[in-house]
Amino acid sequence: MADESKAPQSPESSKPEVSGSSPSPSAAAASPSVPAKPVAPAPLQVPLDNELSRRYRERFGPAILDALEDRKQPILIVDATQILEIARYSHDEEKFDLLEDYTAVDWPRREKRFDLVAQLYSFTHNERLRLKIPLGAAQPPPSLVPIWPIANWLEREIYDLFGIAFHGHPNLKRILLPDEWQGHPLRKDYDILQQDTAWVRENLGIESGQ
């Protein structure tokens, strides 16, 4: 590889080094020819300011806490108190007719412990949008089942594994774990070896499932 780098390029090789400190499109374009010198990469998370995010901001104002793009995927961080309105608007006006996935992430050290994460897809525009909803531990979010019926099992799964209770859900009970199980395994404070030993003893007749 070192032999392949052409001789005429060597006087110019200082150029990418100089421009490397400030990421610019020209530096990024030059980087493949000089593999030895890593150019500072473009930031992965950038603020999102496109038509879509402007429409949301215009409509919901402060309820849109932040809009950003991570690895070119648009994300809106929205306020938990306005989920239903924002979801309804996304479905009806922005034509995000498919709730592709709905899940949660646990951040135990944060003040608002959970993130609800909804992946929306629009068949009309062939684009995705991610809604992230920071949520306090004692803050039951409204169920999205009236808007996207798919949310029924997805919310049951979130309830099962994270212990987030959705109010207005038609049938909120555990789905993957047994109904009597204690604890919510995908919470970060639930150790991977932890289990409901009382349940295991009673129902499986063994001391431990490990």
Binding site: P41, D101, F123, R130, I150, W153, L176, I192
Partner: protein, 380 residues
């Protein structure tokens, strides 16, 4: 065999003969539930008036395991979700982590990935076809389907040593170079397979028993499909011409020509026709791909220790059963902070209740079959 239990229902007004409604358990140990699925059926005579799925018997906590493994260590686990389509699972996971790392697999790796994934789609559909036909009472197709599936598994075995849970791909590309006769093997399979698909088709497509058991059974229209998030062949059978391989191409799918088969009626027969046609299209993709496998490296430059930059990514592929998505959150360490898998089988299964209402108990077997669920993926 099935554990029956009467339950008192307050409203027993318009049932047939004024009889009590009957609740029976189908499964979890039932040959036609394709695993440990338990469906509580509420029956009025032979007719289903309501149902509830009880799942989770195979729950292994895959998403929790992911948080305690490194990115590479977790890769073999995804094969064990949809274990009849392990290659597709691996493709989705590897591509998702590559997106998180902001690297791209080399062109050669992407083409080989495409070939193997399409073979896997055919293998998955073959297993579906054989067992689905068997459920409905046609014994013969199973043997033919298994025979052809075996040829595909042999190619996998030659490629990476494993047949079922292959772990064929690595984050950043491939570990193994294509073996010498891969192209020839795939070509021979594809040449032969055209005739074989015709054989299955001859056995079933015009068969009046098959038509009688599948037409207008388990209807699901496109609006219901989208509302319930149902994807894959089930969605296409209801007339939505949509396939992630076309909508948001990944691997090397943008290079190949293929059609998206669609149905009109959204019944079990249409779903059968869509899957048959999908196998034909997958075959065409394989034939196009082996014609020109680009030379070059098979592995991108990724370190031995993977530490993706802080952030998150969602990547979905068109698995044999529908949208297979991975949502991965990185906190900058070697282990993912959160891995969420969007399992197509789990979400498609949710539509079961909608589809079986009003049908006879015998049709329930056909409808579970037509959804093409794998319980390893439903329960994770």
């Amino acid at each position: 065999m099935a554990d029956t239990a009467h339950e008192n229902y307050a409203q027993k007004t318009d049932t047939l003969f004024g009889a009590d409604e009957l609740v029976i358990n189908m499964g979890p140990q039932h040959p036609s539930t394709h695993g440990v699925l338990r469906v509580k059926l509420k029956l009025d005579g032979e007719r289903v008036v309501g149902s509830e799925c009880v799942i989770g018997y195979l729950h292994r906590g895959v998403e929790k395991i992911a948080e305690n493994r490194t990115y590479q260590q977790f890769a073999p686990y995804v094969d064990r979700m949809d274990y009849v389509a392990a290659v597709s699972n691996g493709l989705g996971y590897c591509e998702a982590v590559e997106k998180l790392l902001v690297v791209e697999a080399p062109a050669r790796a992407r083409v080989i990935r495409t070939i193997l994934t399409e073979l896997q789609r055919i293998a998955s559909h073959l297993l579906w076809l054989g067992t689905h036909a068997l459920d409905i009472g046609a014994l013969t197709p199973l043997f033919y389907c298994m025979r052809e599936r075996e040829e595909i598994l042999k190619i996998f075995e030659k490629y990476c040593g494993a047949r079922l849970t292959t772990h064929a791909f690595r984050i950043g590309g491939l570990q193994y170079e294509a073996y010498d006769t891969l192209e020839r093997d795939v070509e021979r399979f594809c040449k032969d397979f055209e005739r074989r698909i015709q054989q299955y088709s001859d056995l079933l497509t015009g068969n009046s028993i098959w038509i009688g058991r599948t037409r207008n059974v388990g209807l699901l229209n496109s609006a219901d499909c989208i509302a319930l998030g149902v994807s894959g062949p089930v969605l296409r059978a209801s007339g939505v011409k949509w396939d992630l391989r076309k909508a948001m191409p990944y691997a090397a799918y943008d290079k190949y020509k293929f059609e998206i088969p669609v149905g009109t009626n959204g019944d079990t027969y249409d779903r059968y026709m869509v899957r048959i046609e999908e196998m034909r299209q997958s075959r065409l993709i394989c034939l196009q791909a082996i014609e020109n496998i680009p030379a070059g490296p098979i592995m991108a430059r990724v370190g031995k220790v993977l530490k993706p930059p802080v952030g998150e990514v969602y990547h979905a592929i068109e698995g044999p059963k529908g949208i297979l998505g991975y949502y991965i959150v990185s906190d900058g360490t070697t282990q993912p902070y959160r891995v969420r898998i969007r399992p197509p089988s789990f979400i498609n299964l949710q539509a079961l209740d909608r589809m079986i209402r009003g049908h006879l108990v015998t049709d329930v077997v056909a409808i579970i079959g037509t959804l093409d669920i794998v319980l390893g993926e439903v329960d994770r």
